[in-house]
Symmetry: C2
Subunit: 157 residues, 2 copies
DNA sequence: TGATTTTTGTTCCATTTGAAACTATATAAT
DNA sequence: ATTATATAGTTTCAAATGGAACAAAAATCA
């Protein structure tokens, strides 16, 4: 690929990626905001607690791409809505373990198939080999982006 | 691809896409926020005016994925910073045409190569055929997502 | 022409987000 | 033990964002 010298936003991959990602996210969000009144960070928290019950806030933050403030807020709101329960750890007084309530599990169990269905509708026609290719590409790009970010931080010191 | 029944967020394509996209965006943003003090919507406005001088706010909004409120704010801020100039249309009294000032053109001319360099570093190792494949996939997904969104709107009527 | 509806762009208000300061507990060092 | 440092999580405040109401000009239609 030779270097272009002009930038058509519509052809610029980061831009297209951003538009696609936002559209997919808001499509997914429509699944759970309407039915359960939860936001994107709240859904991510539920999703992660559905996979791994008993995580702490910091663990959630590290698994999902959210900072700890976002997690605090999501958890608070989910507790008010009775989707999540907190139990303080006796091992470490700063920490509390978080779990889905019955109602929270219901959210998880209802939303997951819908989310997967959307994923399937958007990417499902990919042949398995293509799917693997995608996974690989995404991983590669992820790692390149984080490398670039570090380089940038480096040279701004 | 057979339908999965559980959801590991880390493997969920919409989620991975979202993380990648956010990281790329913030990487790009670091190029222009530090040097010129402009935000993402402001940069998009500059980029689009660099390609097509004289656009109106609505035209900008339709080219970039921003609503008209976001465009209003971006344009106001860019005018304050002397990167954009507005000239009211004598043909249509509601409308004004927007152009980059000299300083705005300098932003455009300086940021574009850096943005393209990042695109190149992240996607540049793709063979031309792969690049085409990507473009095609992104287009396909875009259209599927918008179809799905319409279906969803449809059945909520 | 005069009344009605659309379109363009802005303003206002409520909600969301992000960064920094802060509290409380735990760990390390002397 | 006592002090210093690090970690977990929350609060606070300012800025960004989104939606609805709005004003002004244009287009439509009677």
């Amino acid at each position: 690929m030779e270097q272009k010298s002009s930038l058509r936003l519509q052809d610029f991959l980061p831009y297209r990626l951003s538009v696609l990602s936002n559209n997919v996210s808001s499509l997914l969000a429509s699944l759970y905001t309407e039915k359960f009144g939860i936001s994107i960070p709240e859904w991510r928290t539920v999703a992660v607690l559905g996979e791994e019950p008993g995580l702490t806030s910091t663990q959630i933050a590290s698994r999902v791409a959210m900072d700890k403030v976002a997690v605090t807020r999501a958890v608070q709101s989910l507790i008010e809505k009775r989707f999540v329960r907190r139990s303080s750890s006796q091992a470490d007084g700063r920490v509390s373990h978080l779990n889905l309530t019955k109602a929270g599990q219901r959210v998880y169990v209802e939303v997951v198939p819908m989310a997967l269905a959307i994923e399937h509708k958007v990417w499902g026609t990919l042949a398995p080999a293509e799917k693997d290719y995608w996974d690989e590409m995404l991983s590669k790009m992820e790692s390149r982006v984080s490398t670039l970010r570090e380089e940038l931080l480096e040279c701004n010191k």
